[in-house]
Amino acid sequence: MKTSRRDFIAKSGAAAAAMHDLAHAQAPDQGHEHEHSLVPSDPALRVKSLESLLVEKGLVDPAALDALVDTFQHKIGPRNGAQVVARAWVDSGFKKRLLADGTAAIAELGFGGRGGDYLQVVENTPTVHNLVVCTLCSCYPWAVLGLPPIWYKSAAYRSRAVIDPRGVLREFGLELPENVELRVHDSTAELRYLVLPERPAGTEKLKEEELAALVTRDAMIGVAKVAAPKPGGRA
Protein backbone atom coordinates (compact mmCIF):
# COMPACT_ATOMS: atom_id res chain seq x y z
CA MET A 1 0.00 0.00 0.00
CA LYS A 2 2.87 2.32 -0.79
CA THR A 3 0.75 4.72 -2.81
CA SER A 4 -2.22 4.87 -0.46
CA ARG A 5 -1.33 8.23 1.05
CA ARG A 6 -0.90 9.91 -2.34
CA ASP A 7 -4.10 8.31 -3.63
CA PHE A 8 -5.97 9.69 -0.67
CA ILE A 9 -4.52 13.11 -1.27
CA ALA A 10 -5.35 12.98 -4.97
CA LYS A 11 -8.95 12.01 -4.21
CA SER A 12 -9.46 14.59 -1.52
CA GLY A 13 -7.82 17.20 -3.75
CA ALA A 14 -10.24 16.37 -6.55
CA ALA A 15 -13.15 16.53 -4.14
CA ALA A 16 -12.03 19.90 -2.85
CA ALA A 17 -11.66 21.16 -6.39
CA ALA A 18 -15.12 19.89 -7.32
CA MET A 19 -16.57 21.77 -4.37
CA HIS A 20 -14.65 24.83 -5.47
CA ASP A 21 -16.12 24.57 -8.98
CA LEU A 22 -19.57 24.10 -7.50
CA ALA A 23 -19.21 27.14 -5.29
CA HIS A 24 -18.25 29.23 -8.29
CA ALA A 25 -21.04 27.82 -10.43
CA GLN A 26 -23.54 28.88 -7.79
CA ALA A 27 -22.03 32.28 -7.18
CA PRO A 28 -19.89 33.18 -10.19
CA ASP A 29 -19.74 36.89 -9.37
CA GLN A 30 -18.61 36.37 -5.82
CA GLY A 31 -16.16 33.77 -7.05
CA HIS A 32 -14.53 36.26 -9.37
CA GLU A 33 -13.99 38.82 -6.65
CA HIS A 34 -10.98 37.15 -5.15
CA GLU A 35 -9.25 37.27 -8.52
CA HIS A 36 -8.42 33.64 -8.98
CA SER A 37 -7.93 32.21 -12.45
CA LEU A 38 -10.57 29.50 -12.46
CA VAL A 39 -9.75 26.18 -14.07
CA PRO A 40 -12.47 25.28 -16.57
CA SER A 41 -13.82 21.76 -16.77
CA ASP A 42 -13.60 19.74 -19.99
CA PRO A 43 -10.75 21.63 -21.62
CA ALA A 44 -11.17 20.23 -25.15
CA LEU A 45 -14.71 21.59 -25.45
CA ARG A 46 -13.89 24.85 -23.73
CA VAL A 47 -10.93 25.46 -26.00
CA LYS A 48 -12.98 24.70 -29.10
CA SER A 49 -15.61 27.19 -27.99
CA LEU A 50 -13.02 29.82 -27.05
CA GLU A 51 -11.20 29.43 -30.34
CA SER A 52 -14.37 29.83 -32.37
CA LEU A 53 -15.28 32.93 -30.34
CA LEU A 54 -11.84 34.54 -30.80
CA VAL A 55 -11.89 33.73 -34.52
CA GLU A 56 -15.43 35.04 -35.00
CA LYS A 57 -14.52 38.27 -33.22
CA GLY A 58 -11.50 38.64 -35.50
CA LEU A 59 -9.09 38.49 -32.56
CA VAL A 60 -7.14 35.46 -33.76
CA ASP A 61 -6.48 34.20 -37.28
CA PRO A 62 -6.93 30.39 -37.32
CA ALA A 63 -4.37 30.00 -40.11
CA ALA A 64 -1.82 31.87 -37.98
CA LEU A 65 -2.64 29.52 -35.12
CA ASP A 66 -2.07 26.51 -37.40
CA ALA A 67 1.25 27.95 -38.56
CA LEU A 68 2.47 28.71 -35.03
CA VAL A 69 1.60 25.26 -33.71
CA ASP A 70 3.07 23.57 -36.77
CA THR A 71 6.35 25.48 -36.39
CA PHE A 72 6.85 24.29 -32.82
CA GLN A 73 5.70 20.76 -33.60
CA HIS A 74 7.93 20.26 -36.61
CA LYS A 75 10.57 22.94 -37.06
CA ILE A 76 11.80 24.24 -33.72
CA GLY A 77 13.04 21.58 -31.32
CA PRO A 78 16.08 19.96 -29.72
CA ARG A 79 17.65 19.18 -33.10
CA ASN A 80 18.37 22.93 -33.32
CA GLY A 81 20.27 22.81 -30.05
CA ALA A 82 22.09 19.65 -31.10
CA GLN A 83 23.40 21.46 -34.19
CA VAL A 84 24.63 24.29 -32.01
CA VAL A 85 26.46 21.87 -29.70
CA ALA A 86 28.02 19.91 -32.54
CA ARG A 87 29.24 23.11 -34.18
CA ALA A 88 30.81 24.22 -30.90
CA TRP A 89 32.59 20.86 -30.62
CA VAL A 90 34.19 21.10 -34.05
CA ASP A 91 34.75 24.86 -34.34
CA SER A 92 36.61 26.47 -31.45
CA GLY A 93 36.00 29.97 -32.81
CA PHE A 94 32.26 29.35 -32.82
CA LYS A 95 32.43 27.89 -29.32
CA LYS A 96 34.16 31.01 -28.07
CA ARG A 97 31.49 33.24 -29.62
CA LEU A 98 28.75 30.97 -28.31
CA LEU A 99 29.96 31.21 -24.72
CA ALA A 100 30.45 34.97 -25.03
CA ASP A 101 27.05 35.75 -26.62
CA GLY A 102 24.72 32.81 -27.12
CA THR A 103 22.04 34.78 -28.96
CA ALA A 104 24.44 36.17 -31.56
CA ALA A 105 26.14 32.80 -32.08
CA ILE A 106 22.97 30.76 -32.63
CA ALA A 107 21.88 33.38 -35.16
CA GLU A 108 24.85 32.24 -37.28
CA LEU A 109 22.99 28.91 -37.63
CA GLY A 110 19.69 30.63 -38.35
CA PHE A 111 18.22 30.17 -34.86
CA GLY A 112 16.79 32.76 -32.53
CA GLY A 113 13.66 34.67 -31.65
CA ARG A 114 11.26 33.79 -28.89
CA GLY A 115 12.90 31.84 -26.09
CA GLY A 116 16.38 32.63 -27.33
CA ASP A 117 16.46 36.44 -27.14
CA TYR A 118 18.91 36.36 -24.26
CA LEU A 119 20.65 33.02 -24.43
CA GLN A 120 23.44 32.15 -22.07
CA VAL A 121 25.36 28.99 -22.90
CA VAL A 122 27.01 27.27 -19.96
CA GLU A 123 29.79 24.76 -20.52
CA ASN A 124 30.21 21.43 -18.82
CA THR A 125 33.79 20.35 -18.18
CA PRO A 126 35.38 17.49 -16.23
CA THR A 127 35.14 19.69 -13.11
CA VAL A 128 31.93 21.70 -13.64
CA HIS A 129 28.41 20.45 -14.36
CA ASN A 130 25.46 22.75 -15.17
CA LEU A 131 21.77 22.07 -14.64
CA VAL A 132 18.85 24.25 -15.78
CA VAL A 133 15.48 24.70 -14.08
CA CYS A 134 12.66 27.22 -13.77
CA THR A 135 11.34 26.93 -10.22
CA LEU A 136 8.66 29.63 -10.68
CA CYS A 137 7.07 28.52 -13.97
CA SER A 138 8.38 26.81 -17.10
CA CYS A 139 11.00 29.08 -18.72
CA TYR A 140 12.97 27.13 -21.30
CA PRO A 141 15.18 27.97 -24.32
CA TRP A 142 12.51 27.47 -26.98
CA ALA A 143 14.72 28.71 -29.83
CA VAL A 144 17.16 25.84 -29.38
CA LEU A 145 15.14 23.13 -27.58
CA GLY A 146 11.54 23.79 -28.57
CA LEU A 147 8.84 23.43 -25.94
CA PRO A 148 9.75 21.71 -22.67
CA PRO A 149 8.82 18.14 -21.75
CA ILE A 150 6.26 17.60 -18.99
CA TRP A 151 8.84 16.55 -16.43
CA TYR A 152 10.66 19.87 -16.76
CA LYS A 153 7.40 21.67 -15.83
CA SER A 154 6.51 19.23 -13.04
CA ALA A 155 6.33 20.10 -9.36
CA ALA A 156 8.79 17.29 -8.65
CA TYR A 157 11.53 18.73 -10.86
CA ARG A 158 10.92 22.42 -10.14
CA SER A 159 10.93 21.91 -6.37
CA ARG A 160 13.92 19.60 -6.08
CA ALA A 161 16.34 20.80 -8.74
CA VAL A 162 17.57 23.55 -6.43
CA ILE A 163 17.55 21.77 -3.06
CA ASP A 164 18.51 18.25 -4.15
CA PRO A 165 20.07 18.58 -7.60
CA ARG A 166 22.36 15.58 -7.15
CA GLY A 167 19.38 13.44 -6.14
CA VAL A 168 17.51 14.56 -9.25
CA LEU A 169 20.50 13.74 -11.44
CA ARG A 170 20.70 10.30 -9.82
CA GLU A 171 17.08 9.67 -10.82
CA PHE A 172 18.10 10.46 -14.39
CA GLY A 173 20.91 7.92 -14.05
CA LEU A 174 23.70 10.43 -13.63
CA GLU A 175 25.86 9.97 -10.54
CA LEU A 176 27.88 13.17 -10.25
CA PRO A 177 31.23 12.68 -8.46
CA GLU A 178 31.48 14.75 -5.27
CA ASN A 179 34.55 16.58 -6.60
CA VAL A 180 32.59 17.99 -9.54
CA GLU A 181 31.14 21.48 -8.97
CA LEU A 182 27.43 21.62 -9.72
CA ARG A 183 25.88 24.89 -10.90
CA VAL A 184 22.11 25.08 -10.98
CA HIS A 185 20.62 27.88 -13.08
CA ASP A 186 17.15 29.02 -12.02
CA SER A 187 15.54 30.83 -14.98
CA THR A 188 13.88 33.62 -13.01
CA ALA A 189 14.14 36.31 -15.73
CA GLU A 190 14.08 36.30 -19.55
CA LEU A 191 17.57 34.86 -19.80
CA ARG A 192 17.53 31.33 -21.13
CA TYR A 193 20.15 28.69 -20.52
CA LEU A 194 21.59 26.04 -22.82
CA VAL A 195 24.08 23.53 -21.46
CA LEU A 196 27.03 22.80 -23.72
CA PRO A 197 27.75 19.17 -22.80
CA GLU A 198 31.18 17.57 -22.88
CA ARG A 199 32.11 15.91 -26.14
CA PRO A 200 32.36 12.18 -25.44
CA ALA A 201 35.61 10.31 -25.95
CA GLY A 202 35.93 8.24 -29.09
CA THR A 203 34.19 10.76 -31.34
CA GLU A 204 37.29 12.32 -32.87
CA LYS A 205 36.54 10.95 -36.34
CA LEU A 206 32.86 11.81 -36.43
CA LYS A 207 31.54 14.50 -38.73
CA GLU A 208 29.54 17.42 -37.42
CA GLU A 209 26.17 15.88 -38.40
CA GLU A 210 27.13 12.60 -36.75
CA LEU A 211 28.07 14.44 -33.59
CA ALA A 212 24.76 16.33 -33.62
CA ALA A 213 22.92 13.00 -33.76
CA LEU A 214 24.53 12.01 -30.44
CA VAL A 215 23.34 15.12 -28.58
CA THR A 216 20.14 14.67 -26.57
CA ARG A 217 17.70 17.22 -25.22
CA ASP A 218 18.37 16.00 -21.69
CA ALA A 219 22.11 16.62 -22.08
CA MET A 220 21.38 20.22 -23.09
CA ILE A 221 19.24 20.71 -19.95
CA GLY A 222 22.00 19.14 -17.87
CA VAL A 223 20.20 16.06 -16.54
CA ALA A 224 22.35 13.74 -18.65
CA LYS A 225 25.70 13.51 -20.37
CA VAL A 226 26.18 12.81 -24.04
CA ALA A 227 26.97 9.11 -24.40
CA ALA A 228 29.74 7.90 -26.68
CA PRO A 229 28.53 6.10 -29.81
CA LYS A 230 28.14 2.35 -29.43
CA PRO A 231 31.14 0.45 -30.81
CA GLY A 232 30.48 -0.63 -34.39
CA GLY A 233 27.20 1.27 -34.55
CA ARG A 234 26.63 4.51 -36.34
CA ALA A 235 25.70 7.63 -34.45
Binding site: A14, A44, L50, K57
Partner: protein, 219 residues
Protein backbone atom coordinates in the same frame (compact mmCIF):
# COMPACT_ATOMS: atom_id res chain seq x y z
CA UNK B 1 3.06 36.33 -4.04
CA UNK B 2 3.98 33.47 -1.76
CA UNK B 3 2.03 31.07 -3.96
CA UNK B 4 2.37 27.37 -4.56
CA UNK B 5 4.04 28.20 -7.90
CA UNK B 6 7.15 29.29 -5.97
CA UNK B 7 8.31 25.71 -5.64
CA UNK B 8 12.07 25.87 -5.29
CA UNK B 9 13.11 23.93 -2.19
CA UNK B 10 9.77 22.24 -1.50
CA UNK B 11 9.93 18.54 -0.74
CA UNK B 12 7.85 15.39 -1.07
CA UNK B 13 6.54 16.14 -4.57
CA UNK B 14 7.53 12.60 -5.60
CA UNK B 15 10.00 11.35 -8.21
CA UNK B 16 10.51 13.11 -11.54
CA UNK B 17 8.33 11.17 -13.96
CA UNK B 18 9.48 11.01 -17.53
CA UNK B 19 7.69 9.96 -20.68
CA UNK B 20 9.42 8.22 -23.58
CA UNK B 21 8.99 9.78 -27.02
CA UNK B 22 6.86 12.55 -25.59
CA UNK B 23 4.92 14.52 -28.23
CA UNK B 24 5.11 18.34 -28.23
CA UNK B 25 1.38 18.43 -27.47
CA UNK B 26 -0.52 15.45 -26.11
CA UNK B 27 -3.88 16.67 -27.36
CA UNK B 28 -4.83 19.08 -30.10
CA UNK B 29 -6.44 21.56 -27.71
CA UNK B 30 -3.16 22.04 -25.85
CA UNK B 31 -1.49 23.48 -28.95
CA UNK B 32 -4.53 25.69 -29.63
CA UNK B 33 -4.43 27.18 -26.11
CA UNK B 34 -0.69 27.69 -26.27
CA UNK B 35 -0.95 29.42 -29.65
CA UNK B 36 -3.97 31.56 -28.74
CA UNK B 37 -2.12 32.87 -25.71
CA UNK B 38 0.71 34.06 -27.95
CA UNK B 39 -1.42 35.40 -30.80
CA UNK B 40 -3.80 37.02 -28.33
CA UNK B 41 -0.90 38.85 -26.69
CA UNK B 42 -0.28 40.58 -30.04
CA UNK B 43 -3.19 42.88 -29.11
CA UNK B 44 -0.92 44.39 -26.49
CA UNK B 45 -3.47 43.85 -23.72
CA UNK B 46 -1.14 41.68 -21.66
CA UNK B 47 2.52 40.75 -21.47
CA UNK B 48 4.39 37.59 -20.55
CA UNK B 49 4.70 38.66 -16.91
CA UNK B 50 0.95 39.26 -16.62
CA UNK B 51 0.39 35.87 -18.23
CA UNK B 52 2.63 34.21 -15.65
CA UNK B 53 0.78 35.97 -12.87
CA UNK B 54 -2.57 34.79 -14.26
CA UNK B 55 -1.26 31.22 -13.91
CA UNK B 56 -0.02 31.92 -10.39
CA UNK B 57 -3.49 33.08 -9.38
CA UNK B 58 -5.02 29.66 -9.99
CA UNK B 59 -6.16 28.38 -6.56
CA UNK B 60 -3.33 26.31 -5.04
CA UNK B 61 -5.20 22.99 -4.90
CA UNK B 62 -6.14 23.35 -8.57
CA UNK B 63 -2.65 24.49 -9.51
CA UNK B 64 -1.21 21.22 -8.22
CA UNK B 65 -4.05 19.05 -9.54
CA UNK B 66 -4.55 20.09 -13.16
CA UNK B 67 -2.32 19.69 -16.19
CA UNK B 68 0.07 22.32 -17.48
CA UNK B 69 -2.10 23.45 -20.40
CA UNK B 70 -5.25 23.45 -18.29
CA UNK B 71 -3.46 26.16 -16.30
CA UNK B 72 -2.81 28.02 -19.56
CA UNK B 73 -6.48 27.75 -20.45
CA UNK B 74 -7.51 29.18 -17.08
CA UNK B 75 -5.03 32.03 -17.52
CA UNK B 76 -6.13 32.72 -21.10
CA UNK B 77 -9.79 32.94 -20.06
CA UNK B 78 -8.76 35.21 -17.22
CA UNK B 79 -6.75 37.49 -19.54
CA UNK B 80 -9.17 37.77 -22.48
CA UNK B 81 -12.03 38.65 -20.13
CA UNK B 82 -10.07 40.64 -17.56
CA UNK B 83 -8.27 42.70 -20.21
CA UNK B 84 -11.37 43.48 -22.21
CA UNK B 85 -11.01 41.44 -25.39
CA UNK B 86 -14.04 39.30 -24.61
CA UNK B 87 -17.00 39.84 -22.29
CA UNK B 88 -18.15 37.27 -19.75
CA UNK B 89 -21.43 36.98 -21.66
CA UNK B 90 -19.56 36.25 -24.90
CA UNK B 91 -17.44 33.67 -23.15
CA UNK B 92 -20.49 31.90 -21.78
CA UNK B 93 -22.48 31.99 -25.02
CA UNK B 94 -19.47 31.31 -27.24
CA UNK B 95 -20.78 34.00 -29.63
CA UNK B 96 -19.75 37.62 -30.24
CA UNK B 97 -22.15 40.17 -28.77
CA UNK B 98 -24.90 41.08 -31.23
CA UNK B 99 -23.92 44.00 -33.42
CA UNK B 100 -20.25 43.99 -32.41
CA UNK B 101 -17.79 44.84 -35.16
CA UNK B 102 -15.38 42.16 -36.31
CA UNK B 103 -11.75 43.04 -35.69
CA UNK B 104 -8.78 42.24 -37.94
CA UNK B 105 -6.24 39.88 -36.34
CA UNK B 106 -2.86 41.62 -35.92
CA UNK B 107 -0.98 38.46 -36.96
CA UNK B 108 -1.80 36.48 -40.11
CA UNK B 109 -0.24 33.15 -41.06
CA UNK B 110 2.43 34.88 -43.18
CA UNK B 111 3.34 37.01 -40.16
CA UNK B 112 4.11 34.06 -37.90
CA UNK B 113 7.84 33.76 -38.72
CA UNK B 114 8.24 37.47 -37.90
CA UNK B 115 6.27 37.03 -34.68
CA UNK B 116 8.62 34.23 -33.59
CA UNK B 117 11.70 36.19 -34.69
CA UNK B 118 10.61 39.27 -32.75
CA UNK B 119 10.79 37.25 -29.55
CA UNK B 120 10.08 39.01 -26.30
CA UNK B 121 12.39 42.02 -26.26
CA UNK B 122 12.68 43.10 -22.63
CA UNK B 123 16.19 44.57 -22.54
CA UNK B 124 16.11 48.37 -22.45
CA UNK B 125 18.67 50.72 -23.93
CA UNK B 126 18.42 53.36 -21.22
CA UNK B 127 21.07 54.71 -18.92
CA UNK B 128 20.29 53.41 -15.46
CA UNK B 129 23.10 53.14 -12.93
CA UNK B 130 23.80 49.67 -11.56
CA UNK B 131 23.39 49.48 -7.80
CA UNK B 132 25.75 46.55 -7.54
CA UNK B 133 29.08 45.52 -9.04
CA UNK B 134 30.32 42.13 -10.18
CA UNK B 135 31.91 40.36 -7.22
CA UNK B 136 29.89 42.29 -4.64
CA UNK B 137 28.12 40.45 -1.83
CA UNK B 138 24.38 41.05 -1.82
CA UNK B 139 21.37 39.85 0.12
CA UNK B 140 18.01 38.87 -1.35
CA UNK B 141 15.58 41.32 0.23
CA UNK B 142 13.09 40.01 2.74
CA UNK B 143 9.99 41.10 0.87
CA UNK B 144 6.65 39.30 0.69
CA UNK B 145 4.53 41.12 -1.89
CA UNK B 146 1.08 39.70 -2.57
CA UNK B 147 1.71 40.66 -6.21
CA UNK B 148 3.91 39.05 -8.87
CA UNK B 149 7.58 38.71 -8.06
CA UNK B 150 10.49 36.85 -9.62
CA UNK B 151 12.41 36.79 -6.37
CA UNK B 152 11.93 33.21 -5.18
CA UNK B 153 11.27 32.68 -1.49
CA UNK B 154 14.37 30.52 -1.11
CA UNK B 155 16.64 33.46 -2.00
CA UNK B 156 15.09 35.99 0.42
CA UNK B 157 17.33 36.95 3.29
CA UNK B 158 20.16 34.89 1.78
CA UNK B 159 23.59 36.18 0.87
CA UNK B 160 25.00 35.73 -2.60
CA UNK B 161 27.56 37.21 -4.97
CA UNK B 162 26.98 39.20 -8.15
CA UNK B 163 28.44 36.98 -10.87
CA UNK B 164 27.34 38.92 -13.94
CA UNK B 165 25.54 42.15 -14.82
CA UNK B 166 23.22 41.45 -17.76
CA UNK B 167 22.39 45.10 -18.34
CA UNK B 168 19.09 46.96 -18.05
CA UNK B 169 15.85 45.00 -18.34
CA UNK B 170 12.25 45.88 -17.70
CA UNK B 171 11.21 44.81 -14.22
CA UNK B 172 8.88 41.81 -14.34
CA UNK B 173 7.37 42.52 -10.92
CA UNK B 174 5.84 45.85 -11.99
CA UNK B 175 5.30 44.95 -15.66
CA UNK B 176 3.03 42.04 -14.64
CA UNK B 177 0.62 44.55 -13.13
CA UNK B 178 0.86 47.11 -15.97
CA UNK B 179 2.53 49.47 -13.54
CA UNK B 180 5.35 50.46 -15.82
CA UNK B 181 8.58 48.89 -16.96
CA UNK B 182 10.76 50.31 -14.18
CA UNK B 183 13.93 49.43 -16.14
CA UNK B 184 16.86 48.43 -13.95
CA UNK B 185 19.90 46.17 -13.92
CA UNK B 186 19.46 42.44 -13.96
CA UNK B 187 22.16 40.20 -12.52
CA UNK B 188 23.16 36.60 -12.13
CA UNK B 189 23.52 36.13 -8.40
CA UNK B 190 25.35 33.09 -7.13
CA UNK B 191 24.19 31.55 -3.87
CA UNK B 192 26.12 28.66 -2.44
CA UNK B 193 23.94 25.61 -1.85
CA UNK B 194 25.03 25.68 1.81
CA UNK B 195 23.87 29.28 2.22
CA UNK B 196 20.44 28.27 0.95
CA UNK B 197 20.04 24.81 2.44
CA UNK B 198 22.60 24.42 5.19
CA UNK B 199 25.05 21.64 5.90
CA UNK B 200 23.03 18.97 4.13
CA UNK B 201 23.99 20.52 0.78
CA UNK B 202 27.21 19.84 -1.07
CA UNK B 203 29.96 22.37 -0.35
CA UNK B 204 30.74 22.50 -4.06
CA UNK B 205 27.30 23.38 -5.36
CA UNK B 206 25.75 26.74 -6.19
CA UNK B 207 22.43 28.08 -7.39
CA UNK B 208 22.49 30.95 -9.88
CA UNK B 209 19.41 33.18 -9.81
CA UNK B 210 18.57 36.13 -12.09
CA UNK B 211 17.56 39.04 -9.87
CA UNK B 212 16.95 42.74 -10.43
CA UNK B 213 18.24 45.72 -8.44
CA UNK B 214 14.92 45.97 -6.53
CA UNK B 215 15.34 42.40 -5.27
CA UNK B 216 18.71 43.05 -3.66
CA UNK B 217 20.44 44.97 -0.90
CA UNK B 218 24.11 45.27 0.02
CA UNK B 219 25.35 42.58 2.41
Amino acid sequence: MNGVHDMGGMQDMGPVQREKNEPVFHQRWEGRVWGMMWLGSAWGKWNLDAMRHAIERIPPADYLRVSYYEKWLAALVDLVTGRGLVTRAELESGKPAAGSAKATPPVKAEGVPALIARGNPVKRDVAVAARFQVGQRVRGRNINPVTHTRLPRYARGKIGTIERDHGVFLFADSNAHFQGEKPQHLYSVRFTARELWGEQASARDSIYVNLWDDHLEPA
